[in-house]
């Protein structure tokens, strides 16, 4: 018999993750912003990046939110097959502090991973979908990503993380793009072809000169992440989702015994 109140524990964890993500941005992002400020050469770009770093420090010191836009709380769950809490109860627990939940079910596992990614409206409004045709190929994908980010200009608070979803259906491509923005900076897609595309897009996007807050400069994106899925032979959906420089996220791992391990880096 299970006596541990896993639903209550998860509800507390979900609430904690949301506030934590909003106040304390991950180390990989802090490092990427410092790195960006060191390599930026444009005058307004350097001023924007130094102000961003100052802002992150003030949020730490004053225990305030990094950004006022608390966003849409997007939760992603990896649920072990043997984790003894029904999905309806997991959903109810997350709903206490959230609006949306995504799922991935993991066989032969008794744990639960929860990731909270607050998504601000400035960057979420810069979401783009194109149903390319297969003959457009990788070139068509690259062109669409480039024109989307140039068109977005300063609106999504660059430099941030560009997420690209390729394949699946229209909606699934966008889901993949959102998975992509939630990955820590420095991670690569395990498929070497896709990892190469990530590197190529990253370099090309930074050639556009959009720069910090769209004021012109060398650093337009901190990273480009690509996620992909199989698709129909006549489809080639490409989705672009943007995550602002504050790129907030927080994760927790919950065991079957209700032990919560908060993870700053995942």
């Amino acid at each position: 018999m299970i006596t541990t109140d896993l639903q209550g524990i998860l509800e507390d964890a979900a609430a904690h993750l949301y506030v934590w993500a909003l106040m304390d941005i991950p180390q990989d992002l802090r490092d990427a912003l410092v790195d960006a400020s060191e390599r930026e050469t444009s005058v307004p770009g350097r001023r924007v990046l130094s102000t961003i770093l100052r802002n992150v420090q003030i949020a730490d010191d004053q225990k305030n939110l990094v950004c006022q836009d608390t966003g849409i709380a997007v939760y992603t769950c990896r649920v072990g097959e043997h984790f003894p809490l029904h999905p309806t109860r997991i959903y109810a627990a997350l709903k206490a502090g959230t609006e949306r939940a995504n799922w991935e079910f993991i066989p032969e596992w008794d744990g639960l991973d929860v990731k909270c990614v607050p998504k601000g409206s400035g960057s979420e409004n810069m979401s783009f979908l194109k149903m390319c045709i297969p003959a457009d190929g990788v070139k068509g994908i690259k062109q669409f990503v480039l024109e989307s980010i140039v068109g977005a200009g300063g609106k999504p608070c660059p430099p941030g993380i560009v997420g690209v979803g390729i394949g699946g259906s229209a909606d699934y491509a966008m889901y993949l793009a959102k998975e992509a923005i939630a990955r820590p900076i420095g991670t690569k897609n395990p498929d070497p072809h896709v990892a190469k595309l990530e590197e190529e897009l990253y370099a090309l996007l930074n050639e556009t000169g959009i720069g910090p807050m769209g004021l012109g400069g060398d650093v337009t994106v901190l990273q480009c992440h690509v996620e992909h899925a199989d698709t129909h032979m006549t489809l080639n959906p490409v989705a672009v989702n943007y995550q602002c420089w504050a790129a907030r996220r927080a994760s927790a791992h919950i065991t079957v015994d209700g032990v919560v391990d908060y993870d700053r880096e995942a």
Partner: protein
Amino acid sequence: MAIQKLTFPTNEEEIRKLRAGDEVLVDGHIIGIRDRTHIRIFDQGVAPPMDLGGAFLLHTAPGVKKVGPGKYEKVCIGTTTSARMVRFTDGLGAQYGVRAICGKGGLPDEAIEPMRKHGMVYFAIVGGAAALETTQIEEIEEVAWEELMPECLWKFRVKDFGPLIVGIDSHGNSLFHDVQERAKQKLEEIYARL
């Protein structure tokens, strides 16, 4: 270039001195405004109950705490994307004498001509830097149209508000236009080698 200081409300002469790319810190009074506030003024034709002559408008819906009737304290105040509100630029200058619009992400090219004509500037702020921005707001002095909460008209007293970068000046220059033009040229060059 040295950082310039400017106190609001101000006049056309001071605004005409500013050039795209200049960096400015602002003191004095600024007015918070957002989508619904503009819609009430222009689409519904309701005159704003605050004087916007010479004003600095900030695109915001502040995070506040109510502490008494019509009295609010700051919690977390940041800035929203300006481009949604571009169509009101001409009216703000022509009808109300607004001198500066401040927000994040820039205004599209349709703002350039009204700003040149009426003597206005667009100040680009660092989007998302709300923790810093909140420390630069000394007090929320007034609020009107509370029923639009949080998209009311807010009067803030500020000290060293910024850094702000002149994104569009009153002489027809726009950093955003220039960045886009260069990026489009660059894209053609990139596409040719893909």
